[in-house]
Amino acid sequence: MSALLALRGVTVAFGGLVAVDDVTFDVEEGSITGLIGPNGAGKSTVFNAVNGVYRPRTGSILFDGRDIVGMPSQRIARLGIARAHQVVRPLTDLSVLDNVTVGACFGRDALGLVAGRRRAAGVLEQLGLADRASQPAGSLNVAQKKRLELARAVAAGPRLLLADEVLAGLNPHEVEEMLGVFATIRAAGVTILMIEHLMQAVMHLSDKVVVLDYGRLIAVGTPAEVQADPAVIEAYLGDPHAAERLLADEP
């Protein structure tokens, strides 16, 4: 497997605040890669750097071997990078179908309206939203919105899907369903980089897990390797010793 996406020494800073600090990792073509880390670790910033919302201060981001740093977001989207946001951003006043059609019409395949609608309808079918097609997107519930967000990204026909906490806020049954959806997407040959808090899911789905903490890369490896890494445990649950110390401090 070759790297579809490669980050090389990427640093993103806002003024004096370094949000992503010298991060390097690969996402292999056809894989599912998990990107984890506590809140504020810089995961979403990495996504924003990849799809051109933020420009890294240093480093390069190679997509299919081509450096995409400095490219406007819409061009990056057309190269085949689609994103499902953590905070769902449906186009509230538009119908569910239109929301997904936007993905199809302006993504990698840049379909015409008619073909776009057809593709969108297909994706909605696939993601189990077909019966909601003509509803305004604003009327969907959280789970449906998450699904819509994913559908819109998938409809673009991307090579790489950036999935930002798509499972957050779903109930176990919905998570189960969504896992199936991911499998389908992957089977269609789409590479997935996902930010996820729901560990079972990440560990279950991912071929590789990348862990960030305070903007730095602290671990890369298979799910099993990462879960056993003390640095990861500390980053995630907080330093257990720190907790011990705090408790020990108790008079």
């Binding site: 799809n51 051109g52 919302v53 406007p72 977001s73 819409q74 989207a77 057309r78 689609a82 994103r83 946001h85 951003r89 186009l91 509230t92 006043d93 538009l94 179908l97 239109d98 059609t101 936007v102 993905g103 019409c105 302006f106 993504g107 990698r108 840049a110 015409g112 309206l113 008619v114 776009g116 609608r117 057809r118 309808a121 097609a133 003509s134 819109r152 673009a156």
Partner: protein
């Protein structure tokens, strides 16, 4: 075309042809009955329809509040008037030439100010309007403060003043129909989808692969063309053009009021809004008890619509008459 556009929405409804037919039939009334005063009233109504429909493209579909939209009406009017007077071309040619300065301003100035968002954009359009007006007041080749006026004999080329007025009317009606059609096509195209995506969430639009800068400028240009043509017809009929009447801020705001009154972001909204607005104005002006307070009453009504009926008349009709929903876009 329509059927495929609607293919996934259920049964296709001939909304556009019906709307166009209604407007066309109404517009044809004064020609059939030969009633010039009805013609004058409808000329004005069709002008309002055109202005409101056009500003709706940039404000309703794209979410950019353009306060100075009337600048295109004035530029089109000046361009056409100057062409007729100095180049001596026929009105139809002149109207086409009048579109040029409007489109140029839309592309060059629009391209720059469309980067601004929210109140900043609204204020910038206001600045552009005032700057253009102040400039034209001083620009002697276009008559400066005095403006330009025809010698009455010009109308002889069009079979006399009466038939010139009729021609201007027919032209105005066609422009209005064109604006409605354009509005509909934009609403139902990939391009329109991009506009509405920008309106809902510009940052998301970029990530979805939409180039907001180019898309917005294109929308601005479309929303500039029809007012420019309307300006050509209006000032041709008027026989005089001067900065004050060509770049009138009040008229600019009037068209926004119509859009909101009718239903922002809908195809039928500006048309219904213009009709309602004109009816209301006529009612207020002819009612002696209300006439002197017409501005006050207009303000109160606008406030009521803005505060309590945000989706305008189209919204009200759609919520009251569910069956109308598919027919009113």
């Amino acid at each position: 075309m329509r059927a495929t556009l609607h293919g996934l929405h259920g049964l296709p409804r001939p909304f556009l042809p019906v709307l166009l037919l209604i407007v066309a039939v109404v517009a044809a009334l004064p020609l059939v009955t030969g009633n010039p005063s009805l013609r004058e009233e409808l000329f004005f109504m069709l002008l309002l329809v055109t202005l409101a429909t056009s500003v709706n493209v940039i404000t309703g579909y794209t979410g950019y509040v353009s306060f100075g939209h009337i600048v295109f009406f004035g530029l089109g009017g000046y361009g056409a008037f100057w062409s007729m007077q100095v180049l001596g071309v026929h009105f139809l040619v002149a109207a086409a030439l009048g579109v040029i300065p409007a489109v140029l301003v839309a592309v060059i100035v629009g391209g720059a100010v469309l980067r601004l968002r929210g109140a900043y954009f609204a204020l910038a359009t206001l600045g552009i309007l005032e700057a253009t007006k102040a400039f034209m007041t001083n620009f002697e080749p276009a008559g400066g403060a005095v403006g330009l006026s025809f010698n009455f004999s010009v109308y002889a080329n069009y079979g006399g003043a009466k038939s010139a007025a009729e021609m201007a009317y027919v032209f105005m009606a066609l422009v209005a129909l064109g604006a409605i059609t354009a509005s509909y096509l934009v609403r139902h195209s990939k391009f329109g989808l991009a506009l509405m995506t920008i309106r809902e969430d510009q940052d998301a639009a970029v990530i979805l692969g939409i180039d907001p800068a180019r898309t917005k400028v294109a929308a601005f240009v479309i929303s500039a063309v029809f007012p420019a043509l309307a300006g050509a017809a209006f000032f041709f009929k008027n026989g005089i053009i001067e900065p004050g009447s060509a770049f009138d801020l009040t008229r600019s705001i009037e068209s926004l009021v119509i859009v909101v009154l009718g239903g922002i972001g809908t195809v039928a909204g500006p048309v219904i809004g213009a009709a309602a607005y004109e009816w209301l104005r006529g009612f207020l002006i002819t009612n002696p008890a209300l006439a002197s307070f017409q501005l006050t009453i207009a303000g109160v009504l606008l406030l009521v619509v803005v505060l309590f009926a945000t989706s305008g008349l189209v919204g009200v009709i759609r919520s009251r008459v569910p069956r109308a929903r598919g027919w009113l876009e």
